[in-house]
C-alpha cells in the first residue's frame, strides 16, 4: 500500500429507513484507496458496493438513505461535512462516475457533444467554442471513431460500446482525481467489455487518476486492478494485492466466490456454489455475517472477527483465515 491514499473511508455506516426500522446497508466500512491505481471492489448484488459509491458522492436516495456514522476524506476534506454547493463542485469534477447501463445513462434528447460540453462549461468554465473543441478531443481520446462528427449524434445513433465511450469522455472531462466505475462493463458484450476495460486502464495511466472499479466479476478485477477488496453484507471481508488474492484467498467467502466461478480450461469439474443467500441486512447474525454459509464455522464466529493481517498487505476479517 505504499502510495498515499486519494480517498480514505473510515467507519462508514449507511442506513436506510425501512418499515422495520433503520437498516444498515453498509456498516463499519474502512477503505483506503491508493492514489494513481485501479482498485477493485468485489461483491455480489446487495452487498453494499453501490451504496458505498453513492455515500462517497453523497447521492443516497433521500429521505430514505443517510450516512449515520464515519468519515470520507478526499483531497484533505471530509466530504460528509461539506455544504451541498461545494459537493456539487466535486461531483463530475474531482470525482466522477460511470455507470452500468450505457443505454440509459445519456439524455436521449440531447446530442452527446452537448452533454460533454455541459460538464466542461459548468466545471471548467470554458466558452462554448472551447468546450466544443475539447469535447471533440475527449471523444478522440476515448477511441470514438470519427469524433468530430459524432459530437452531433444523439445517443440512439451510437452503439452500446460507443455510448459507454461517450460516458467515459464525460467522466474524464474535468480530469478527475478519482473515477468511480460502477459495473462499467456488465451490460456490454464480452468483446466490447475487453475494449472498455483496456480503455479505462489506459486512461487511468495517462491521466494518473485513481479508479474505483466496482464489480461482481472477478475476471474484470484480475484484468485491471493491482489491488482489490471483497465486500460482504456491508463490510470489507478481505483485501489484498490481486495476484495474492487469486493465488491464496484467505476469507472463506472469497474462496467460495472462486469455487463458483466457471473456468474455461479443463472440463467435467462441478461448480461449487456458496450455500444459502446473503442475509437481509436487518437479520444479520451477531459476529461474522458469513457464518451461516461458511464451510468452517465454529463457536468463535458468533463474536466479531478481527481484521487480521494474513501476510504483508493481505488482510481478512476472519477467525480462521486460510491461505
Amino acid at each position: 500500500m505504499g502510495a498515499a491514499a486519494v480517498l480514505s473511508i473510515s467507519g462508514l455506516r449507511t442506513e436506510f429507513r425501512t418499515r422495520r426500522g433503520p437498516v444498515a446497508a453498509v456498516d463499519g466500512l474502512d477503505l483506503e484507496l491508493p492514489a494513481g491505481e485501479t482498485f477493485g471492489l468485489v461483491g455480489e448484488s446487495g452487498c453494499g458496493k453501490s451504496v458505498t459509491a453513492l455515500s462517497i458522492l453523497r447521492l443516497l436516495p433521500r429521505p430514505a438513505g443517510r450516512v449515520a456514522a464515519g468519515s470520507i476524506r478526499f483531497e484533505g476534506e471530509d466530504l460528509l461535512a461539506l455544504p451541498e454547493a461545494a459537493m456539487r463542485r466535486i461531483r463530475g469534477n474531482r470525482i466522477s462516475m460511470i455507470f452500468q447501463e450505457p443505454m440509459t445513462s445519456l439524455n436521449p434528447v440531447l446530442p452527446v457533444g452537448f452533454q460533454i460540453e455541459e460538464v466542461l462549461r459548468k466545471h471548467r468554465g470554458l466558452s462554448a467554442r472551447e468546450a466544443r473543441a475539447e469535447a471533440g478531443g475527449l471523444l478522440a481520446r476515448v477511441g470514438m471513431p470519427d469524433p468530430q462528427s459524432r459530437l452531433d449524434d444523439y445517443p440512439h445513433q451510437l452503439s452500446g460500446g460507443m455510448r459507454q465511450r461517450a460516458m467515459i469522455a464525460i467522466a474524464l472531462a474535468c480530469r478527475p482525481a478519482l473515477m468511480i466505475a460502477d459495473e462499467p462493463t456488465t451490460a456490454l458484450d464480452v468483446t466490447i467489455q475487453a475494449q472498455i476495460l483496456e480503455l479505462i486502464s489506459r486512461l487511468q495511466a495517462e491521466f494518473g487518476m485513481s479508479v474505483l472499479l466496482i464489480t461482481h466479476d472477478l475476471g474484470v478485477v484480475a484484468e485491471t486492478c493491482r489491488e482489490a477488496a471483497v465486500m460482504y453484507a456491508g463490510r470489507i471481508v478481505e483485501r489484498a494485492a490481486v495476484a495474492r488474492l487469486y493465488a491464496r484467498p484467505a476469507h472463506p467467502y472469497t474462496v467460495g466466490l472462486f469455487r463458483s466461478l466457471p473456468r474455461a480450461v479443463g472440463r467435467g469439474g462441478k461448480l461449487t456454489p456458496i450455500p444459502g443467500t446473503v442475509p437481509h441486512p436487518a437479520e444479520l447474525p451477531p459476529g461474522c455475517a458469513f457464518q451461516e454459509r461458511c464451510f468452517q464455522r465454529h463457536a468463535a464466529c458468533r463474536e466479531d472477527p478481527p481484521w487480521a493481517e494474513v501476510a504483508t498487505g493481505h488482510f481478512a476479517r476472519c477467525w480462521k483465515p486460510l491461505g
Binding site: 456539487r88 462516475m97 455507470f99 446530442p111 459548468k122 452531433d152
Partner: protein, 279 residues
Amino acid sequence: MPSWEPLAGLWRSRSAALGLGLIAFVLGVALFGPAVAPHDPFRTAPLERLAAPSAAHPFGTDSLGRDILSRVIHGARISILIGLISVSISLFPGTLLGLLAGYFGGRLDSVIMRAMDMLLAFPAILLAIFITAILGPSLPNTMIAVGVVYIPHYARIVRSSVLALKEQLFVQAIAHLGGGHGRILFRHVLPNALPPIIVYATLGMGTAVLQAAALGFLGLGAQPPQPEWGVMLSEGRQYLQIAPHVAAFPGGAIFILVLGFNLLGDGLRDVLDPTLRAL
C-alpha cells in the same frame, strides 16, 4: 443541431396534413382576412336583415343585416387568439406545477396535486362558467377561465412523465456529474417531458375554442356586437327555422378550426411517440 426530420412525418400522414392545412387556412384568414373582408362586420342594415346567401353577401346577413362572411372572417382572429392565449394560460403554470410536484415529491407534491384534484372535481364547463361569473363576462375573462380550467390536465401529464424520468439513469447521472436541481429539471427533464404536452396542447387549442364558443353562446364570453363565433351562433339560434345560415356559417367555422387542431394533434402524437419513431 436539433433535427426537424420527425416532423416531416406529418406530411406523410394524410389526416395530419389535412389538419395542418385547415389550421393554416384559418390562420391565413385571421391574418389577412380583415383586409379583404367585403363589408364592415359591425355595420347594420335593417332593411337587409336575415337575407339568404347571395352574391353581395355570400354567407347572407344576420338579424341586424350585418354581413356574416365579414363577421366570420373577423371572428377567426378572435378564435385563434382564444386558442393560443387560453392554452398558454393552462400550459405554463400547469407544466411548472407538474415539474415541481413530480420532481420534488413529498409534501409539495401532495399540496399541488390535491389542489389540482379540487379543480378537476368540477365539470370543465361548470368551472369555466363559475370563473367568468366571478370575473364578469368578457372575452379576456373567458380566456382566463378556459385556461385555468385546464391547468390540472397539464400538471398531471407532466408530473407522470417526470415521475418516470427522474428514475432514469441519465437524470441521476447528471446529479453524479454535479448538476443542480435547476439544470436537471429544466434542461434535462423538461425536454424529455415535452412530447405528450405538445400533443395535448394542440388538442387543447380545439377544446379551448369550443369552450370559449360555448361560453359565448351562454352569454358569458365575448359580448355582442363582437363577431365571436360562439356569440354569433347564439344569436342565430333564434332564427334557426327561418334563416338557418345565420347559425350554420359560424358553426361551420368552429367545426373547421377544431377539426384542424384535433387532426394535427393526433398526427403529432403518432410522430412524437418514441415507440413508433424509427431510428
